[in-house]
């Protein structure tokens, strides 16, 4: 006979739930206080110069009180030599050999592996196991493969299918990054541990984004550390998306499958949906995520007001409610950094520029800029207004402009 509510005596829901310790009047042990919040730091060289990994490491690790050792990560753009630049660089965490073989089969069915190998890591004594294997494949998708439900999609769509497919169906395998000319190095540990684990000093990149984590309502695990990446997008996020449920429905209706147990995942997919698929300029996408109040929209000029109203109506499910500041990176058409806070500026975000104008910074705390550039110029942006810096073009937005500046021709 099936056990259920009909048979009260034999039905005990406790068995379905994890057994957690219970306490009476005695104060439970463990974390007795809470402070901090995640730390984010990003830097870009707009003249195309290379920034050593040690720079971003000292930026992030300076904000030591913003993390609690449950995740940190770095994404590097403009990293690979010419011969690998144009292939998708797919990096994975594998818990075991079976997961690796299954993922490799999955890839081979849908394209060609140009080159593969493990990502070099070092042993860091202070870090706790498990240590998933980190593998890198340079990969070209085959849009005509019969394994795709839809034939002749763009290569980007094929990669999205593959990443979400592997993350959702192969146990013990998680795709960490899948963009061109970029890679994500992340894991469960303090920012300095992760930097040492991946030996970031060996890398030079045009842009680095980074994140140290203080998870408040999602578990600390390797794949859940930031940056959360899909294609060449990577997102570092401090805060929480309280509208996660609504946003999740929007991206799911558009074919994204969520598997990382963290609200930041939905932000990454929203950028991909709004900018890559719907072709919105980044500052318009930023407005959709953090729109101004209707009282502010009323005072805009007519053209801007109409656009603002249309964006708010069309993308009302993309509206990210709750406090956040995010760093967003992409490598196409050129490597660029987008940094913005929520519409009420409830999380810290500060921008910086080096004296010679070649490097730009976006950080949670001023000290993260000063530690690498004592003479930098710093400023704060407006709520919801993105700062955008691009290699080859310099500073495209300061973060203090009107929302749609540069959108109309």
């Amino acid at each position: 006979m099936k056990k259920g509510y009909d048979d009260e005596a034999e039905f005990d829901r406790r068995e379905d739930l994890p057994l957690l310790p219970s306490f009476g009047a005695q104060r439970p042990p463990g974390l007795q206080y809470m402070m901090g919040g995640c730390g984010i730091a990003g830097t870009i060289d707009v003249n195309g110069g290379k920034i050593p990994g040690s720079t971003i490491t000292s930026m992030l690790t300076t904000m030591r009180e913003r993390e609690n050792g449950l995740g940190a990560g770095y994404s590097a753009y403009g990293l690979f030599p010419k011969e690998y630049k144009d292939h998708y660089c797919m990096q994975f965490f594998f818990d075991d050999e079976d997961a690796r073989i299954a993922a490799e089969e999955y890839l081979k069915d849908r394209g060609e592996i140009v080159r593969e190998g493990s990502v070099p890591t070092k042993r860091v004594r202070s870090m706790r196991p498990p240590f998933p294997g980190v593998w890198r494949y340079f990969f070209d998708p085959q849009p005509r493969s019969k394994m795709f439900v839809m034939r002749d999609q763009t290569p980007d769509e094929c990669i999205v299918d593959i990443v979400l497919g592997i993350n959702g169906t192969i146990p013990g395998a998680m795709c960490v990054s899948s963009g061109k000319d970029m890679a994500v190095f992340k894991g469960n540990g303090y920012s300095y541990e992760i930097a040492e684990y991946y030996d970031l000093e060996r890398y030079q990149a045009s842009m680095w984004l980074s994140h140290s984590r203080f998870p408040t309502n999602s578990p600390g695990w390797w794949a859940g550390a930031h940056p959360i990446s899909l294609l060449d997008w990577s997102v570092c996020h401090n805060g929480e998306i309280t509208s996660y449920g609504v946003n999740r429905k929007l991206v799911e209706m558009n074919g994204y499958r969520l598997s990382l147990l963290t609200d930041t995942e939905v932000v990454t997919y929203l950028w991909d949906l709004l900018v890559r698929r719907h072709n919105l300029p980044p500052q318009v996408a930023a407005f959709a995520l953090a729109p101004q109040y209707y009282s502010q929209i009323e005072r805009m000029d007519e053209r801007s007001r109409k656009l603002a109203e249309q964006i708010r109506m069309t993308y009302k499910e993309a509206f990210l409610n709750g406090p956040f500041s995010i760093l967003v990176g992409r490598s196409r058409p050129d490597i660029s950094m987008i940094a913005m806070a929520d519409r009420k500026k409830l999380r810290p975000l500060l921008f910086g520029r080096s004296m010679d104008g070649s490097r730009y910074y976006a950080v949670s705390e001023e000290s993260a800029v000063r530690v690498v550039e004592e003479q930098a110029i710093t400023w704060v942006g407006n709520p919801g207004s993105p700062m955008i810096a691009q290699v080859g073009k310099g500073l495209m937005r300061k973060g203090t402009e009107a929302p749609f500046e540069g959108v109309f021709r």
């Binding site: 300076t62 904000m63 009180e65 009282s295 502010q296 005072r299 009420k344 500026k345 810290p348 500060l350 705390e365 001023e366 000290s367 993260a368 000063r370 530690v371 710093t378 704060v380 407006n382 709520p383």
Partner: protein, 239 residues
């Protein structure tokens, strides 16, 4: 030894003058220090919650301060020669914060006054949105140094939920910039006296001259001491 332990040890041993060089984001410097004649100089970038719960001493920063400078300070002075970013002077209960440069968002959120204590914040440059949010007492002055004619040195939603104290801005403030519960009012003789004192203090602290053209100043004060009355169901829950 960690920076704050060292500072506390020096205070306990009776130091009256502490100079900290090369500060890089360390938080809570000088927090809850009580000695009235203590002077702390900071060179570098102090971290969040600089001088939190400060009760008497003077802290001088040669550089920029991060967020939440002077959190719930009771008395004393914090003088910042650079900028002091978001939520400067939150829940200020007394004392004074002088910032030569600009500040960020939510400056002076929930400042209050009690008895003789009248806390004050003077910002030399500009501030962002939500200036003096839920303000309950004390005074904020924004001087708008370096702001071009016709632009406003302050953001939107000024004094949202303000129910005590005053905000003074030198430069343009438009009605739409005000938050719920705030109103623009004329400067009286008492206001001019207060502003003159605050500006003199600012001039002496940074060795600068500030033009005193009172026609350029705008005063923002609460519409009432109960800005949200009538916005909630007034039915008493204990009936």
């Amino acid at each position: 030894m960690a920076l704050n332990s060292e500072v506390r040890k020096a205070i306990a041993e009776g130091s009256k003058r502490i100079i900290i060089d090369g500060v890089m984001g360390q938080r809570y410097i000088g927090s809850a220090a009580k000695a009235k004649d203590l002077y702390v100089a900071i060179k570098g970038t102090p971290g969040n919650d600089l001088g939190a719960f400060l009760d008497g001493p003077t802290i001088e920063v040669f550089g920029n301060a991060q967020d939440m400078t002077g959190n719930t300070m009771s008395s004393g002075r914090i003088v910042v020669h650079g900028n002091a970013w978001d939520v400067t002077g939150l829940s200020l209960r007394g004392g004074r914060i002088l910032v030569r440069g600009s500040s960020g968002f939510r400056v002076g959120i929930h400042m209050k006054e009690f008895g003789k204590e009248r806390p004050a914040i003077v910002i030399g440059g500009t501030t962002g949105d939500y200036l003096g949010e839920y303000m309950a007492g004390g005074n904020i002055l924004v001087l708008g140094e370096g702001v071009p004619e016709g632009e406003s040195p302050v953001g939107s939603f000024i004094g949202t939920g303000i129910h005590g104290g005053s905000i003074y801005v030198r430069g343009k403030v438009e009605k739409h910039q005000l938050g719920m519960g705030a109103s623009i009012s004329d400067l009286g003789a008492e206001d001019v006296k207060l502003l003159d004192e605050l500006i003199t203090d600012f001039e002496n602290a940074f060795n600068v001259k500030v033009e005193r053209d009172w026609s350029k100043f705008t005063k923002i004060k609460p519409l009432s001491s109960r800005p949200f009355t009538g916005r909630f169901d007034s039915t008493a829950i204990w009936n």
